[in-house]
Symmetry: C2
Subunit: 174 residues, 2 copies
Amino acid sequence: MNEMATKIADGLERAFAMQGFAAPSVEDLRDAAGVSLRTLYKYAPSRDLMIRMALEHRHQRYLGHVFGDQNRSSGQSLDETLDRVANWMQTEASHGCLFHAAVASAPDDQKLRQLLEAHKSEVSQRAAVSAGCDISPNDVMVIIEGLTQAWSLSQDAALTSAKRLARLAEAQSA
Amino acid sequence: MNEMATKIADGLERAFAMQGFAAPSVEDLRDAAGVSLRTLYKYAPSRDLMIRMALEHRHQRYLGHVFGDQNRSSGQSLDETLDRVANWMQTEASHGCLFHAAVASAPDDQKLRQLLEAHKSEVSQRAAVSAGCDISPNDVMVIIEGLTQAWSLSQDAALTSAKRLARLAEAQSA
DNA sequence: GACGAAGTAGAGTGTTCGCTCTACCTGCGC
DNA sequence: GCGCAGGTAGAGCGAACACTCTACTTCGTC
């Protein structure tokens, strides 16, 4: 991915995160990307592809934020992972999970559904593995999803509950 | 709410649940409601109000499905509540929570955000109370939200995890 | 059987949308 | 200094959109 593509993906992600997937027109997206309409369409030949480009970019950024940019893929406790997820919600995702929002905006789009599934399963898989205990990725997914969705409703209380549930689940599977 | 209003709300809810909030045009909504455009606008004078009408209708239907239509507001175990939530997801909400989808489609709409918040807090409140133990509504919210979101990704595995987490949380707060 | 309330069908309106196209500018290798 | 790859600005197009309007029908009441 070259420099121009990164700049465009960055702007698109920001625009969709702020305004949702329905509201921004292609001209809004052009402004957010900071390029001409012609160039935008060169890198993302349709509005649908602009959405996919933004989500792929966000997936990488999310993994970097939650698990660290390095290949340090293990040794992070579930507790710390949940802290980082909450921090992501606070700093980047005040409107909720962008992948769920994308799927909600176009429920029949199979490509989007695939992206959502790949994103969520990679996240829960990595969180479970790096936690180092025998907790099931399914439990991890329910906890992370619960935290992510409940965050916008009750913030710190949601984080506290998610951490308590995680500790209980870990204690049982250890 | 008279008969015509109920019929319209029902059709609107179905249309939004199937197609999301961005895709259906007002003409699609008219067809789903089974009335003329004129009548539709009489009961819901703008597209935004059609969305609100559908969500209020869905809130009532959800409460009825999960907690029973009667005033039997207590005595239902958390385990049974989670079963009913999973059943709702399977039969009615294959595309995920409609309230989150609505907010995602218009992140700046404060009225929609209020509806989401009222819906979620009433659900977790009632689930916690009717469970009869001292479990915190925040824990319940994280578990129900986690189940709701993870359901579309892993179905029964999500239900199993949610139930396990609920049992652990109940055991600790008993 | 006249009347008003409440429904229907469907054409019309101005706007906005996604997308394309033409015309121009700029930096770089040979 | 010429050509070209790759960028910019912005007008233009046909379709779709939310919403309104006119004209007609149905039905219950007195």
